[in-house]
Subunit: 302 residues, 2 copies
Protein backbone atom coordinates (compact mmCIF):
# COMPACT_ATOMS: atom_id res chain seq x y z
CA UNK A 1 0.00 0.00 0.00
CA UNK A 2 0.98 3.62 -0.21
CA UNK A 3 2.38 5.31 -3.24
CA UNK A 4 5.37 6.92 -4.88
CA UNK A 5 5.56 10.42 -6.33
CA UNK A 6 8.37 12.06 -8.25
CA UNK A 7 8.24 15.79 -8.92
CA UNK A 8 9.54 19.12 -7.74
CA UNK A 9 10.10 20.58 -4.30
CA UNK A 10 10.48 24.32 -4.67
CA UNK A 11 10.41 27.82 -3.28
CA UNK A 12 7.56 29.89 -4.75
CA UNK A 13 7.16 33.65 -4.86
CA UNK A 14 3.56 34.45 -5.65
CA UNK A 15 1.50 37.57 -6.13
CA UNK A 16 -2.30 37.45 -6.29
CA UNK A 17 -4.86 40.31 -6.10
CA UNK A 18 -5.11 39.46 -2.39
CA UNK A 19 -1.48 39.41 -1.25
CA UNK A 20 2.12 38.47 -1.89
CA UNK A 21 4.59 35.92 -0.51
CA UNK A 22 8.28 35.26 -1.16
CA UNK A 23 10.17 31.97 -1.15
CA UNK A 24 7.42 29.93 0.46
CA UNK A 25 7.33 26.14 0.32
CA UNK A 26 5.97 24.91 -3.01
CA UNK A 27 6.59 22.45 -5.84
CA UNK A 28 4.41 19.81 -7.50
CA UNK A 29 5.61 16.89 -5.36
CA UNK A 30 5.20 18.92 -2.16
CA UNK A 31 1.56 19.81 -2.85
CA UNK A 32 0.87 16.33 -4.16
CA UNK A 33 2.35 14.40 -1.26
CA UNK A 34 0.87 16.66 1.42
CA UNK A 35 -2.58 16.27 -0.11
CA UNK A 36 -2.20 12.51 -0.63
CA UNK A 37 -0.92 12.09 2.94
CA UNK A 38 -4.49 12.52 4.22
CA UNK A 39 -5.39 9.25 2.48
CA UNK A 40 -2.31 7.04 2.28
CA UNK A 41 1.44 6.73 2.90
CA UNK A 42 3.50 8.63 0.37
CA UNK A 43 7.15 8.29 -0.59
CA UNK A 44 8.48 11.47 -2.16
CA UNK A 45 11.28 11.50 -4.72
CA UNK A 46 12.73 14.92 -5.48
CA UNK A 47 15.83 17.09 -5.12
CA UNK A 48 16.50 20.08 -2.87
CA UNK A 49 19.45 22.43 -2.51
CA UNK A 50 21.68 23.39 0.40
CA UNK A 51 19.35 26.33 1.12
CA UNK A 52 16.35 24.13 1.94
CA UNK A 53 15.58 24.54 5.65
CA UNK A 54 15.11 21.61 7.99
CA UNK A 55 11.73 22.94 9.16
CA UNK A 56 10.13 22.07 5.81
CA UNK A 57 11.50 18.53 6.02
CA UNK A 58 10.17 18.30 9.56
CA UNK A 59 6.77 19.35 8.23
CA UNK A 60 6.76 16.69 5.49
CA UNK A 61 7.75 14.06 8.07
CA UNK A 62 4.93 15.27 10.34
CA UNK A 63 2.54 14.36 7.51
CA UNK A 64 4.08 10.87 7.59
CA UNK A 65 5.67 11.40 4.17
CA UNK A 66 8.69 9.18 3.49
CA UNK A 67 11.51 11.60 2.56
CA UNK A 68 14.24 8.98 2.19
CA UNK A 69 14.11 9.62 -1.58
CA UNK A 70 14.50 13.38 -1.12
CA UNK A 71 18.03 14.07 -2.34
CA UNK A 72 20.00 17.07 -1.14
CA UNK A 73 22.36 18.39 -3.84
CA UNK A 74 24.86 21.22 -3.81
CA UNK A 75 23.39 24.47 -5.13
CA UNK A 76 20.04 26.13 -4.66
CA UNK A 77 16.53 24.71 -4.56
CA UNK A 78 14.24 25.09 -7.58
CA UNK A 79 12.52 28.51 -7.55
CA UNK A 80 9.35 29.72 -9.28
CA UNK A 81 7.93 33.23 -9.34
CA UNK A 82 4.46 33.91 -10.64
CA UNK A 83 1.56 36.29 -10.61
CA UNK A 84 -2.21 35.90 -10.87
CA UNK A 85 -4.63 38.61 -11.94
CA UNK A 86 -8.36 38.41 -11.16
CA UNK A 87 -8.47 35.80 -13.90
CA UNK A 88 -7.31 33.30 -11.30
CA UNK A 89 -7.39 30.34 -13.66
CA UNK A 90 -4.12 31.34 -15.28
CA UNK A 91 -0.67 31.82 -13.73
CA UNK A 92 1.73 34.24 -15.34
CA UNK A 93 5.26 32.89 -14.81
CA UNK A 94 7.72 35.69 -14.08
CA UNK A 95 10.82 33.62 -13.28
CA UNK A 96 11.88 29.97 -13.26
CA UNK A 97 15.23 28.89 -11.81
CA UNK A 98 15.73 25.15 -12.16
CA UNK A 99 18.89 25.21 -10.00
CA UNK A 100 19.52 21.73 -8.52
CA UNK A 101 16.71 20.35 -10.67
CA UNK A 102 18.78 20.88 -13.80
CA UNK A 103 21.03 17.90 -13.14
CA UNK A 104 18.57 15.75 -11.18
CA UNK A 105 18.92 12.03 -11.96
CA UNK A 106 16.49 10.29 -9.64
CA UNK A 107 17.69 6.94 -8.31
CA UNK A 108 15.03 5.16 -6.30
CA UNK A 109 16.02 3.70 -2.94
CA UNK A 110 15.57 -0.09 -3.06
CA UNK A 111 12.55 0.16 -0.74
CA UNK A 112 10.79 2.47 -3.22
CA UNK A 113 10.89 0.03 -6.14
CA UNK A 114 8.04 -2.08 -4.81
CA UNK A 115 5.36 0.61 -4.90
CA UNK A 116 2.44 -0.30 -7.13
CA UNK A 117 0.89 3.15 -7.39
CA UNK A 118 3.03 5.86 -8.97
CA UNK A 119 2.45 9.51 -9.77
CA UNK A 120 4.81 11.21 -12.19
CA UNK A 121 4.28 14.89 -11.46
CA UNK A 122 5.01 17.58 -14.01
CA UNK A 123 8.73 17.11 -14.84
CA UNK A 124 10.76 16.32 -17.97
CA UNK A 125 9.09 13.28 -19.60
CA UNK A 126 12.54 11.65 -19.90
CA UNK A 127 12.81 11.76 -16.12
CA UNK A 128 9.26 10.46 -15.75
CA UNK A 129 10.22 7.33 -17.71
CA UNK A 130 13.54 6.92 -15.90
CA UNK A 131 11.70 6.80 -12.58
CA UNK A 132 8.99 4.49 -13.85
CA UNK A 133 11.59 2.08 -15.25
CA UNK A 134 12.93 1.59 -11.71
CA UNK A 135 9.54 0.50 -10.35
CA UNK A 136 9.26 -3.28 -10.41
CA UNK A 137 5.55 -3.96 -10.90
CA UNK A 138 3.50 -0.79 -11.26
CA UNK A 139 -0.26 -1.39 -11.08
CA UNK A 140 -1.49 2.17 -11.51
CA UNK A 141 0.59 4.91 -13.09
CA UNK A 142 -0.64 8.46 -13.49
CA UNK A 143 1.13 11.54 -14.79
CA UNK A 144 0.83 15.26 -15.28
CA UNK A 145 2.59 17.45 -17.81
CA UNK A 146 2.53 21.05 -19.09
CA UNK A 147 2.64 23.21 -22.22
CA UNK A 148 6.46 23.46 -21.95
CA UNK A 149 6.90 19.69 -22.51
CA UNK A 150 4.03 19.37 -24.99
CA UNK A 151 5.75 21.91 -27.20
CA UNK A 152 9.41 21.25 -26.44
CA UNK A 153 9.60 17.49 -25.86
CA UNK A 154 6.58 16.10 -27.61
CA UNK A 155 8.18 12.83 -28.79
CA UNK A 156 9.44 12.00 -25.32
CA UNK A 157 6.09 12.92 -23.79
CA UNK A 158 4.28 10.64 -26.25
CA UNK A 159 6.60 7.80 -25.16
CA UNK A 160 5.70 8.44 -21.53
CA UNK A 161 1.98 8.57 -22.32
CA UNK A 162 2.18 5.07 -23.82
CA UNK A 163 3.19 3.81 -20.37
CA UNK A 164 0.62 5.52 -18.14
CA UNK A 165 -2.90 4.55 -17.12
CA UNK A 166 -4.12 8.02 -16.15
CA UNK A 167 -3.23 11.43 -17.52
CA UNK A 168 -4.24 14.53 -15.54
CA UNK A 169 -3.94 17.80 -17.48
CA UNK A 170 -5.81 21.06 -17.87
CA UNK A 171 -8.09 22.01 -20.77
CA UNK A 172 -5.53 24.22 -22.51
CA UNK A 173 -2.97 21.43 -22.39
CA UNK A 174 -5.51 18.91 -23.71
CA UNK A 175 -6.23 21.17 -26.68
CA UNK A 176 -2.53 21.73 -27.30
CA UNK A 177 -1.62 18.05 -27.03
CA UNK A 178 -4.43 16.91 -29.35
CA UNK A 179 -4.62 19.90 -31.71
CA UNK A 180 -8.39 19.76 -31.22
CA UNK A 181 -10.44 22.65 -29.78
CA UNK A 182 -13.42 20.45 -28.83
CA UNK A 183 -12.66 18.63 -25.56
CA UNK A 184 -14.68 15.51 -26.38
CA UNK A 185 -12.72 15.02 -29.57
CA UNK A 186 -9.47 16.01 -27.84
CA UNK A 187 -10.11 13.35 -25.18
CA UNK A 188 -10.60 10.62 -27.78
CA UNK A 189 -7.30 11.52 -29.47
CA UNK A 190 -5.35 11.66 -26.21
CA UNK A 191 -6.76 8.39 -24.91
CA UNK A 192 -5.65 6.76 -28.17
CA UNK A 193 -2.09 7.81 -27.26
CA UNK A 194 -2.05 5.56 -24.18
CA UNK A 195 -3.81 6.74 -21.03
CA UNK A 196 -7.18 4.96 -20.96
CA UNK A 197 -8.29 7.30 -18.18
CA UNK A 198 -8.07 11.01 -18.89
CA UNK A 199 -8.87 13.79 -16.45
CA UNK A 200 -9.16 17.29 -17.87
CA UNK A 201 -9.02 20.00 -15.21
CA UNK A 202 -10.92 23.21 -15.91
CA UNK A 203 -9.97 25.36 -12.92
CA UNK A 204 -13.02 27.05 -11.40
CA UNK A 205 -15.23 24.95 -13.70
CA UNK A 206 -14.21 21.60 -12.25
CA UNK A 207 -12.95 18.54 -14.09
CA UNK A 208 -14.04 16.10 -16.77
CA UNK A 209 -13.21 12.39 -16.63
CA UNK A 210 -13.09 10.29 -19.81
CA UNK A 211 -12.93 6.49 -19.53
CA UNK A 212 -14.28 3.47 -21.41
CA UNK A 213 -17.35 3.81 -19.19
CA UNK A 214 -18.17 7.31 -20.46
CA UNK A 215 -17.83 10.85 -19.16
CA UNK A 216 -18.05 12.21 -15.62
CA UNK A 217 -18.34 15.94 -14.94
CA UNK A 218 -17.22 17.12 -11.49
CA UNK A 219 -17.85 20.72 -10.50
CA UNK A 220 -15.40 22.86 -8.59
CA UNK A 221 -16.54 24.03 -5.19
CA UNK A 222 -17.93 27.57 -5.56
CA UNK A 223 -15.70 29.59 -3.25
CA UNK A 224 -16.29 33.12 -2.07
CA UNK A 225 -12.57 33.66 -1.86
CA UNK A 226 -9.91 32.09 -4.04
CA UNK A 227 -6.78 33.40 -2.41
CA UNK A 228 -4.00 31.65 -4.33
CA UNK A 229 -4.47 28.93 -6.97
CA UNK A 230 -0.80 27.83 -6.84
CA UNK A 231 -0.59 24.07 -6.42
CA UNK A 232 -4.32 23.46 -6.93
CA UNK A 233 -3.70 20.97 -9.73
CA UNK A 234 -1.09 19.01 -7.75
CA UNK A 235 -3.29 19.09 -4.65
CA UNK A 236 -6.16 17.73 -6.76
CA UNK A 237 -3.91 14.94 -8.08
CA UNK A 238 -2.76 14.18 -4.53
CA UNK A 239 -6.27 13.72 -3.19
CA UNK A 240 -7.25 11.74 -6.27
CA UNK A 241 -4.29 9.33 -6.25
CA UNK A 242 -4.15 9.16 -2.46
CA UNK A 243 -7.72 7.91 -2.33
CA UNK A 244 -7.08 5.31 -5.06
CA UNK A 245 -3.85 4.10 -3.43
CA UNK A 246 -5.76 3.70 -0.19
CA UNK A 247 -8.61 1.63 -1.64
CA UNK A 248 -6.61 -0.09 -4.44
CA UNK A 249 -9.90 -0.27 -6.34
CA UNK A 250 -9.69 1.35 -9.75
CA UNK A 251 -13.20 0.86 -11.14
CA UNK A 252 -15.27 3.74 -12.51
CA UNK A 253 -17.16 4.39 -9.25
CA UNK A 254 -13.89 4.61 -7.28
CA UNK A 255 -12.29 6.90 -9.84
CA UNK A 256 -15.31 9.22 -9.61
CA UNK A 257 -15.09 9.32 -5.82
CA UNK A 258 -11.35 9.93 -6.10
CA UNK A 259 -12.00 12.93 -8.36
CA UNK A 260 -14.33 14.41 -5.75
CA UNK A 261 -11.73 13.88 -3.02
CA UNK A 262 -9.19 15.57 -5.29
CA UNK A 263 -11.60 18.47 -5.86
CA UNK A 264 -12.19 18.73 -2.11
CA UNK A 265 -8.46 18.99 -1.40
CA UNK A 266 -7.95 21.57 -4.17
CA UNK A 267 -10.86 23.65 -2.84
CA UNK A 268 -9.12 23.89 0.53
CA UNK A 269 -5.70 24.61 -0.92
CA UNK A 270 -6.73 27.76 -2.81
CA UNK A 271 -8.07 29.33 0.39
CA UNK A 272 -4.57 30.41 1.50
CA UNK A 273 -1.00 30.87 0.28
CA UNK A 274 1.47 27.97 -0.02
CA UNK A 275 0.44 24.84 1.89
CA UNK A 276 -0.95 26.84 4.80
CA UNK A 277 -4.51 25.54 4.50
CA UNK A 278 -3.42 21.94 3.87
CA UNK A 279 -1.26 22.08 7.00
CA UNK A 280 -4.16 22.89 9.28
CA UNK A 281 -6.68 20.50 7.77
CA UNK A 282 -8.65 17.94 9.72
CA UNK A 283 -9.97 14.76 8.08
CA UNK A 284 -13.49 15.53 9.27
CA UNK A 285 -13.35 18.78 7.26
CA UNK A 286 -12.50 16.73 4.18
CA UNK A 287 -15.49 14.47 4.77
CA UNK A 288 -17.77 17.44 5.38
CA UNK A 289 -16.77 19.08 2.14
CA UNK A 290 -17.19 15.79 0.25
CA UNK A 291 -20.79 15.77 1.49
CA UNK A 292 -21.15 19.39 0.36
CA UNK A 293 -20.08 18.28 -3.11
CA UNK A 294 -22.91 15.74 -2.99
CA UNK A 295 -25.42 18.46 -2.11
CA UNK A 296 -23.90 20.73 -4.74
CA UNK A 297 -24.50 18.23 -7.54
CA UNK A 298 -27.50 16.17 -6.50
CA UNK A 299 -30.72 16.13 -8.50
CA UNK A 300 -33.50 13.57 -8.49
CA UNK A 301 -34.12 10.91 -11.06
CA UNK A 302 -36.61 11.72 -13.83
Amino acid sequence: MGMLVVGSVAFDSVETPFGKVDDVLGGSATYFSTSASYFTNVALVAVIGEDFPEKHITFLKSRNIDVSGLERASGNTFRWKGRYTYELNEAHTLETHLNVFQSFKPVLPESHRDYEVVFLANIDPDLQREVLAQVKKPKLVACDTMNFWIQGKRDSLVETLELVDILIINDGEARQLSGEPNLVKAAAKIRAMGPKTLIIKRGEYGALLFTNDGVFAAPAYPLEKVFDPTGAGDTFAGGFMGYLANTMNFDDASIRKAIIFGSVMASFNVEDFSLNRLKSLDYSEIEDRYREFRRLTHFDDI
Copy 2:
Protein backbone atom coordinates in the same frame (compact mmCIF):
# COMPACT_ATOMS: atom_id res chain seq x y z
CA MET B 1 -51.65 25.66 -16.11
CA GLY B 2 -49.41 26.66 -18.95
CA MET B 3 -47.37 29.80 -19.13
CA LEU B 4 -46.87 33.16 -20.76
CA VAL B 5 -43.72 34.41 -22.46
CA VAL B 6 -42.96 37.84 -23.87
CA GLY B 7 -39.88 38.34 -26.00
CA SER B 8 -38.64 38.59 -29.54
CA VAL B 9 -39.50 36.71 -32.71
CA ALA B 10 -36.77 37.38 -35.24
CA PHE B 11 -34.86 36.49 -38.35
CA ASP B 12 -31.26 35.52 -37.59
CA SER B 13 -28.27 35.42 -39.89
CA VAL B 14 -25.55 33.37 -38.27
CA GLU B 15 -22.04 32.31 -39.15
CA THR B 16 -20.19 29.65 -37.14
CA PRO B 17 -16.96 27.76 -37.96
CA PHE B 18 -19.23 25.01 -39.28
CA GLY B 19 -21.58 26.87 -41.62
CA LYS B 20 -23.71 29.89 -42.36
CA VAL B 21 -27.43 30.66 -42.60
CA ASP B 22 -29.40 33.77 -43.56
CA ASP B 23 -32.73 35.02 -42.24
CA VAL B 24 -33.66 31.84 -40.41
CA LEU B 25 -36.30 31.72 -37.68
CA GLY B 26 -34.95 32.98 -34.35
CA GLY B 27 -35.71 35.27 -31.43
CA SER B 28 -35.75 34.72 -27.68
CA ALA B 29 -39.49 34.02 -27.44
CA THR B 30 -39.35 31.61 -30.37
CA TYR B 31 -36.60 29.48 -28.86
CA PHE B 32 -38.16 29.74 -25.42
CA SER B 33 -41.68 28.74 -26.41
CA THR B 34 -40.61 25.94 -28.72
CA SER B 35 -38.46 24.46 -25.94
CA ALA B 36 -41.16 24.95 -23.27
CA SER B 37 -43.79 23.41 -25.54
CA TYR B 38 -42.35 19.96 -24.83
CA PHE B 39 -43.47 20.36 -21.20
CA THR B 40 -46.49 22.68 -21.06
CA ASN B 41 -48.83 24.97 -23.01
CA VAL B 42 -47.24 28.27 -23.91
CA ALA B 43 -48.80 31.57 -24.92
CA LEU B 44 -46.37 33.71 -26.88
CA VAL B 45 -46.51 37.51 -26.83
CA ALA B 46 -44.35 39.22 -29.46
CA VAL B 47 -44.46 41.29 -32.63
CA ILE B 48 -43.67 40.33 -36.23
CA GLY B 49 -43.58 42.34 -39.46
CA GLU B 50 -45.31 41.98 -42.81
CA ASP B 51 -42.39 39.89 -44.07
CA PHE B 52 -42.93 37.07 -41.57
CA PRO B 53 -44.03 33.98 -43.53
CA GLU B 54 -47.05 31.95 -42.59
CA LYS B 55 -45.00 28.74 -42.48
CA HIS B 56 -43.26 29.84 -39.28
CA ILE B 57 -46.61 30.56 -37.63
CA THR B 58 -47.81 27.16 -38.79
CA PHE B 59 -44.75 25.62 -37.12
CA LEU B 60 -45.40 27.41 -33.81
CA LYS B 61 -49.02 26.25 -33.90
CA SER B 62 -47.85 22.70 -34.62
CA ARG B 63 -46.02 22.88 -31.28
CA ASN B 64 -49.35 23.80 -29.67
CA ILE B 65 -48.10 27.33 -28.94
CA ASP B 66 -50.87 29.92 -28.50
CA VAL B 67 -50.03 32.68 -31.01
CA SER B 68 -53.10 34.85 -30.35
CA GLY B 69 -50.76 37.35 -28.65
CA LEU B 70 -48.43 37.45 -31.65
CA GLU B 71 -49.05 40.88 -33.17
CA ARG B 72 -48.38 41.59 -36.82
CA ALA B 73 -47.29 45.21 -37.39
CA SER B 74 -46.44 47.09 -40.56
CA GLY B 75 -42.74 47.07 -41.32
CA ASN B 76 -40.09 44.36 -41.12
CA THR B 77 -39.50 41.69 -38.48
CA PHE B 78 -36.63 42.12 -35.99
CA ARG B 79 -33.33 40.98 -37.51
CA TRP B 80 -30.07 39.90 -35.86
CA LYS B 81 -26.80 39.04 -37.53
CA GLY B 82 -23.98 37.42 -35.58
CA ARG B 83 -20.84 35.37 -35.83
CA TYR B 84 -19.18 32.79 -33.60
CA THR B 85 -15.51 31.85 -33.70
CA TYR B 86 -14.18 28.60 -32.19
CA GLU B 87 -14.74 30.32 -28.83
CA LEU B 88 -18.37 29.29 -29.15
CA ASN B 89 -19.36 30.74 -25.78
CA GLU B 90 -19.44 34.26 -27.15
CA ALA B 91 -21.53 35.73 -30.00
CA HIS B 92 -20.15 38.67 -31.94
CA THR B 93 -23.10 40.81 -33.00
CA LEU B 94 -22.61 42.21 -36.49
CA GLU B 95 -26.02 43.85 -37.02
CA THR B 96 -29.22 44.46 -35.06
CA HIS B 97 -32.32 45.87 -36.75
CA LEU B 98 -35.12 46.33 -34.23
CA ASN B 99 -37.65 47.16 -36.99
CA VAL B 100 -41.23 46.50 -35.73
CA PHE B 101 -39.83 45.87 -32.26
CA GLN B 102 -38.93 49.53 -31.91
CA SER B 103 -42.54 50.63 -31.30
CA PHE B 104 -43.83 47.41 -29.71
CA LYS B 105 -46.34 48.06 -26.90
CA PRO B 106 -47.55 44.64 -25.81
CA VAL B 107 -51.22 44.47 -24.84
CA LEU B 108 -52.18 41.10 -23.44
CA PRO B 109 -55.35 39.47 -24.78
CA GLU B 110 -57.83 39.06 -21.92
CA SER B 111 -57.29 35.31 -21.88
CA HIS B 112 -53.57 35.82 -21.26
CA ARG B 113 -53.99 37.79 -18.03
CA ASP B 114 -54.76 34.73 -15.95
CA TYR B 115 -51.45 32.95 -16.45
CA GLU B 116 -49.64 32.31 -13.20
CA VAL B 117 -46.23 31.49 -14.65
CA VAL B 118 -44.55 34.23 -16.67
CA PHE B 119 -41.24 34.48 -18.45
CA LEU B 120 -39.98 37.92 -19.40
CA ALA B 121 -37.37 37.18 -22.07
CA ASN B 122 -34.57 39.57 -22.87
CA ILE B 123 -36.32 42.81 -23.87
CA ASP B 124 -36.39 46.41 -22.59
CA PRO B 125 -36.99 46.20 -18.81
CA ASP B 126 -39.74 48.86 -19.20
CA LEU B 127 -41.60 46.46 -21.48
CA GLN B 128 -40.99 43.58 -19.09
CA ARG B 129 -42.78 45.50 -16.32
CA GLU B 130 -45.57 46.66 -18.65
CA VAL B 131 -46.35 43.05 -19.51
CA LEU B 132 -46.09 41.85 -15.93
CA ALA B 133 -48.47 44.62 -14.76
CA GLN B 134 -51.16 43.15 -17.01
CA VAL B 135 -50.95 39.70 -15.40
CA LYS B 136 -53.56 39.41 -12.63
CA LYS B 137 -52.01 37.02 -10.10
CA PRO B 138 -48.54 35.91 -11.09
CA LYS B 139 -47.22 33.02 -8.97
CA LEU B 140 -43.82 32.54 -10.57
CA VAL B 141 -42.08 35.24 -12.58
CA ALA B 142 -38.69 34.76 -14.20
CA CYS B 143 -36.70 37.04 -16.44
CA ASP B 144 -33.60 37.30 -18.56
CA THR B 145 -31.64 40.40 -19.52
CA MET B 146 -28.39 41.35 -21.26
CA ASN B 147 -25.35 43.66 -21.06
CA PHE B 148 -27.15 46.26 -23.23
CA TRP B 149 -29.86 46.84 -20.55
CA ILE B 150 -27.50 46.43 -17.60
CA GLN B 151 -25.42 49.26 -18.96
CA GLY B 152 -28.05 51.42 -20.66
CA LYS B 153 -31.18 51.01 -18.51
CA ARG B 154 -29.87 49.96 -15.15
CA ASP B 155 -32.48 51.79 -13.03
CA SER B 156 -35.36 50.32 -14.97
CA LEU B 157 -33.79 46.87 -14.82
CA VAL B 158 -33.39 47.15 -11.05
CA GLU B 159 -37.11 47.99 -10.81
CA THR B 160 -37.94 44.87 -12.82
CA LEU B 161 -35.67 42.71 -10.68
CA GLU B 162 -37.59 43.74 -7.56
CA LEU B 163 -40.66 42.07 -9.08
CA VAL B 164 -39.22 38.75 -10.23
CA ASP B 165 -38.69 35.45 -8.43
CA ILE B 166 -36.05 34.03 -10.75
CA LEU B 167 -33.34 35.72 -12.76
CA ILE B 168 -31.53 33.76 -15.48
CA ILE B 169 -28.37 35.42 -16.79
CA ASN B 170 -24.89 34.45 -17.91
CA ASP B 171 -21.69 34.82 -15.88
CA GLY B 172 -20.49 37.94 -17.66
CA GLU B 173 -23.83 39.63 -17.05
CA ALA B 174 -23.80 38.60 -13.38
CA ARG B 175 -20.37 40.18 -12.95
CA GLN B 176 -21.46 43.33 -14.79
CA LEU B 177 -24.72 43.68 -12.84
CA SER B 178 -23.06 43.18 -9.44
CA GLY B 179 -19.67 44.75 -10.10
CA GLU B 180 -18.16 41.67 -8.45
CA PRO B 181 -15.73 39.29 -10.23
CA ASN B 182 -16.34 36.39 -7.81
CA LEU B 183 -19.61 34.64 -8.73
CA VAL B 184 -20.52 33.61 -5.18
CA LYS B 185 -20.29 37.22 -4.03
CA ALA B 186 -22.00 38.43 -7.23
CA ALA B 187 -24.89 36.05 -6.57
CA ALA B 188 -25.40 37.38 -3.03
CA LYS B 189 -25.54 40.95 -4.30
CA ILE B 190 -27.96 40.16 -7.12
CA ARG B 191 -30.28 38.11 -4.92
CA ALA B 192 -30.44 41.09 -2.55
CA MET B 193 -31.86 43.10 -5.47
CA GLY B 194 -34.99 40.94 -5.63
CA PRO B 195 -34.78 37.54 -7.34
CA LYS B 196 -34.45 34.97 -4.55
CA THR B 197 -33.56 32.35 -7.13
CA LEU B 198 -30.63 33.13 -9.39
CA ILE B 199 -29.37 30.99 -12.25
CA ILE B 200 -26.01 31.88 -13.72
CA LYS B 201 -25.38 30.25 -17.10
CA ARG B 202 -21.77 29.46 -17.99
CA GLY B 203 -22.10 28.19 -21.57
CA GLU B 204 -20.13 24.98 -22.09
CA TYR B 205 -19.46 24.86 -18.32
CA GLY B 206 -23.11 24.51 -17.34
CA ALA B 207 -25.06 26.57 -14.83
CA LEU B 208 -25.03 27.53 -11.15
CA LEU B 209 -28.19 27.89 -9.09
CA PHE B 210 -28.27 30.08 -5.98
CA THR B 211 -31.23 29.86 -3.60
CA ASN B 212 -31.88 30.05 0.12
CA ASP B 213 -31.19 26.31 0.16
CA GLY B 214 -27.65 26.70 -1.14
CA VAL B 215 -25.86 26.21 -4.43
CA PHE B 216 -26.44 23.68 -7.19
CA ALA B 217 -23.91 23.13 -9.99
CA ALA B 218 -25.26 21.64 -13.21
CA PRO B 219 -22.79 20.62 -15.92
CA ALA B 220 -23.36 21.18 -19.60
CA TYR B 221 -23.58 18.05 -21.71
CA PRO B 222 -20.13 17.43 -23.26
CA LEU B 223 -20.87 17.52 -26.99
CA GLU B 224 -18.58 16.40 -29.76
CA LYS B 225 -20.10 18.99 -32.05
CA VAL B 226 -21.48 22.37 -31.05
CA PHE B 227 -22.84 23.59 -34.35
CA ASP B 228 -24.55 26.87 -33.45
CA PRO B 229 -25.03 28.24 -29.90
CA THR B 230 -27.68 30.79 -30.99
CA GLY B 231 -30.74 30.51 -28.76
CA ALA B 232 -29.11 28.12 -26.28
CA GLY B 233 -29.90 30.40 -23.33
CA ASP B 234 -33.54 30.88 -24.33
CA THR B 235 -33.90 27.16 -25.02
CA PHE B 236 -32.48 26.46 -21.55
CA ALA B 237 -34.97 28.91 -20.01
CA GLY B 238 -37.80 27.29 -21.99
CA GLY B 239 -37.09 23.79 -20.72
CA PHE B 240 -36.56 25.11 -17.21
CA MET B 241 -39.76 27.17 -16.99
CA GLY B 242 -41.78 24.68 -19.02
CA TYR B 243 -41.00 21.94 -16.53
CA LEU B 244 -41.90 24.17 -13.56
CA ALA B 245 -45.15 25.36 -15.18
CA ASN B 246 -46.04 21.74 -15.77
CA THR B 247 -45.48 20.59 -12.18
CA MET B 248 -46.37 23.89 -10.43
CA ASN B 249 -43.97 22.79 -7.68
CA PHE B 250 -41.26 25.35 -7.03
CA ASP B 251 -39.23 23.72 -4.25
CA ASP B 252 -35.48 23.27 -4.46
CA ALA B 253 -35.65 19.69 -5.77
CA SER B 254 -38.03 20.72 -8.57
CA ILE B 255 -35.91 23.71 -9.51
CA ARG B 256 -32.84 21.45 -9.76
CA LYS B 257 -34.71 19.02 -12.01
CA ALA B 258 -35.95 21.95 -14.08
CA ILE B 259 -32.36 23.13 -14.58
CA ILE B 260 -31.40 19.71 -15.90
CA PHE B 261 -34.37 19.71 -18.29
CA GLY B 262 -33.28 23.18 -19.42
CA SER B 263 -29.72 21.92 -19.94
CA VAL B 264 -31.04 18.93 -21.88
CA MET B 265 -33.01 21.17 -24.23
CA ALA B 266 -30.06 23.53 -24.73
CA SER B 267 -27.76 20.59 -25.47
CA PHE B 268 -30.04 19.53 -28.32
CA ASN B 269 -30.48 23.04 -29.66
CA VAL B 270 -26.79 23.70 -30.29
CA GLU B 271 -26.52 20.59 -32.48
CA ASP B 272 -27.96 22.41 -35.52
CA PHE B 273 -28.78 25.87 -36.88
CA SER B 274 -31.95 27.77 -35.91
CA LEU B 275 -34.66 25.57 -34.33
CA ASN B 276 -33.92 22.66 -36.62
CA ARG B 277 -32.97 20.22 -33.86
CA LEU B 278 -35.82 21.31 -31.58
CA LYS B 279 -38.27 20.75 -34.43
CA SER B 280 -37.35 17.10 -34.85
CA LEU B 281 -37.16 16.22 -31.17
CA ASP B 282 -39.00 13.35 -29.54
CA TYR B 283 -39.90 13.41 -25.83
CA SER B 284 -38.20 10.06 -25.30
CA GLU B 285 -34.94 11.65 -26.49
CA ILE B 286 -35.36 14.32 -23.81
CA GLU B 287 -35.84 11.66 -21.14
CA ASP B 288 -32.85 9.68 -22.41
CA ARG B 289 -30.58 12.70 -22.23
CA TYR B 290 -31.88 13.57 -18.76
CA ARG B 291 -30.73 10.09 -17.69
CA GLU B 292 -27.38 10.74 -19.38
CA PHE B 293 -27.03 13.87 -17.23
CA ARG B 294 -27.54 11.62 -14.20
CA ARG B 295 -24.78 9.28 -15.35
CA LEU B 296 -22.61 12.29 -16.17
CA THR B 297 -22.78 13.67 -12.64
CA HIS B 298 -23.32 10.70 -10.34
CA PHE B 299 -20.82 9.72 -7.67
CA ASP B 300 -21.33 7.60 -4.59
CA ASP B 301 -21.73 8.82 -1.06
CA ILE B 302 -18.63 8.92 1.11
